[in-house]
């Protein structure tokens, strides 16, 4: 880095000054609330409008109770199920479209328009999408029922959303539908970032499109796919808008997610802020572990490698010095 040579001594203080707003906002609106949430998790704070609290005699009581609550366990399982059913087809379709859109031998026309349309559901308010799908699956009259009749799939109207797996399936579908376009664009960008000489070499060697995809494109996309996986998982753990407005967790808690569980604990019924805080902390730990994985993926690999090399070099030097001494 040549920058270090510039006489920066007198300017260093601006580095600190310019990050002050960021640090203050972070401390006030993120760090302190997290700390406060953790504290509330150990107290008896509940009831609308209450602010005073004292610590519980058994400090982990809320945590123990939350973990034992069947609907919390169910919400964890639901979240994982809904996320999985959405993610597997999402990444597969995104990969397929990426392969098609980056195939140099058989170009697809109108790619720009397709990308715009595939990505579109992603920017639409999730709250609106949830209610729209609720209305589309309406019973006894609704567009999906009409479509089923039109296609001869059913004669009687079906009350789709009474079935647990259909309800979960529709939420997974909405997530899939909102996100596959984004995943595809990210993957295409990844392919465009691959060194073109790799593809040229494959071309010269006479590789088929399929071989190029499986032996060059796919291995090169590993990091990006891992990144997509972890960010999607972290986002999926916080799923709230769609389950809340689609069926509000029903039927029979089959679409209750962790975030929705936390919201319901804290802001409805008996306003159990303490339980909700304990559940938040459990969610926080899960997300922190996932973020740790992401952090590891995104770490500066060159810098890490260089550090390792330097250490090796120093060790070798020391060893050499010792040998000389001996």
């Amino acid at each position: 880095m040549g920058r270090k040579k510039i006489k920066s001594v007198s300017y260093a203080k601006y580095g600190y000054i310019f990050v002050i707003p960021f640090v203050l906002a972070f401390l006030t609106f993120t760090a302190y609330p997290i700390f406060f949430t953790a504290i509330i998790g150990f107290t008896d704070l509940k009831g609308l409008g209450k602010t005073d609290f004292k610590f519980l005699p058994n400090i982990f009581q809320n945590f123990e109770q939350i973990i034992k609550t069947p609907s919390f366990q169910k919400s964890l399982v639901n979240t994982v199920i809904i996320w999985t059913i959405n993610f597997i087809p999402q990444i597969l379709l995104a990969l397929l479209l990426t392969a098609w859109f980056t195939n140099q031998r058989q170009k697809i026309k109108g790619q720009g328009a397709f990308k715009v349309l595939f990505y579109m559901p992603n920017i639409i308010t999730a709250a609106t999408v949830a209610i729209l799908f609720n209305v589309l699956f309406g019973y006894p009259m609704g567009p999906i029922n009409d479509l089923f009749k039109l296609l001869g799939l059913s004669t009687e109207p079906i009350n789709f959303l009474l079935d647990k797996w259909t309800a979960r399936g529709v939420i997974s579908f909405i997530q899939f539908w909102m996100w596959y376009g984004q995943t595809m664009i990210v993957l295409i960008a990844g392919v465009l970032g691959i060194n073109p000489s790799l593809f040229e070499a494959a071309e010269i060697d006479g590789a088929t499109s399929r071989q190029v995809f499986f032996y060059i494109t796919l291995p090169s996309l590993r990091t990006i796919m891992l990144f997509t996986l972890v960010t999607s998982l972290i986002g999926g753990m916080q799923m709230f808008d769609i389950p809340r407005l689609f069926l509000n967790g029903g039927p029979d808690n089959s679409t209750l997610t962790v975030s929705l569980f936390i919201y319901n604990q804290a802001f409805s019924g008996s306003y159990l802020y303490n339980r909700a805080a304990a559940a938040s902390m459990i969610l926080f730990i899960i997300i922190a572990v996932l973020s740790g994985i992401l952090f590891y993926i995104l770490r500066d690999k060159d810098a890490a490698k260089m550090k390792k090399e330097m250490r090796k070099l120093r060790k070798a030097q020391k060893a050499a010095a010792r040998e000389v001494a001996a």
Binding site: A25, F114, Y119, I123, I185, V186, G206, T208, I234, A276
Partner: protein
Amino acid sequence: MSQAKALKYEPIAGRTITLVIKYTVCIILAILSIMPFWIMIMNATRNTYEIQQNSIALLPSKYLMYNFKVFEGKSFNPLVGFKNSLIIAALTTIVNIYFNSLTAYALVVYTWRLRQAFFTFIMAILMLPAQVSSIGFYQFMYRIGWTNSFLPLILPAIAGPGVVFFMRQYLLGALSIDIVNSARIDGAGEFYTFNRIVLPIMKPAMATQAIFTFVGSWNNLFMPLILLTDKTKYTMPIMVSLLRGDIYRTEFGAVYLGLTLTVLPLFIVYFTLSKYIIAGVALGSMKE
């Protein structure tokens, strides 16, 4: 097997069939993106009777004004929601882009002792979700009397690690330290240099991030739902959630119209800026 041979022996019919399959799948997916919204917009112009007869219509009817009247005197007020969401999203975007660009600038241009540590810290909090701190955040805001205020929805955006990360990557590529140095020689203050010389250079990156921040803030449901209880403060997504209420059970057309009104501004923004948005999504993935 050389490439020429491979192409020669690949039957033409087979290649046509794969091409037909590819286009068919793409067109089906495109229809899948459009159809729900199309049905929604068309039904917004139809009355309950028409919708009950057949809820899928490809052409509009003439009950748009009638459906509008249904909202009169009801809790769903699209104009109020629109105004509130616009204020919050616009201010969020401004503070978010400005202060995080400033933070990124500090990381790129100045050499300070904690610089590397600070960058590591930014990376560590990159994925920190607002939801996990919501209980403490709510209690904190309640104590200082900031519920039913827009401030707790706007000010947290000053610390946006994702934007700092993006802006830093952009500045590393686009900003030459010579520009800053020559400004210094001309006697410009550090703050002036950032505002007048560096910010204009960052315009393309700022525009990309501004779109995503704006849309993200506009679509946010969780925080406003917790903090805003006063009906005159409701944002668009909260207004939408009111459409699930029983008073609209029999007015199908009005429900569709309400949904349409909430997404109309997004459609306009999206289709005018789609080129930049798609490019922005692709760029955002290049976190190498």
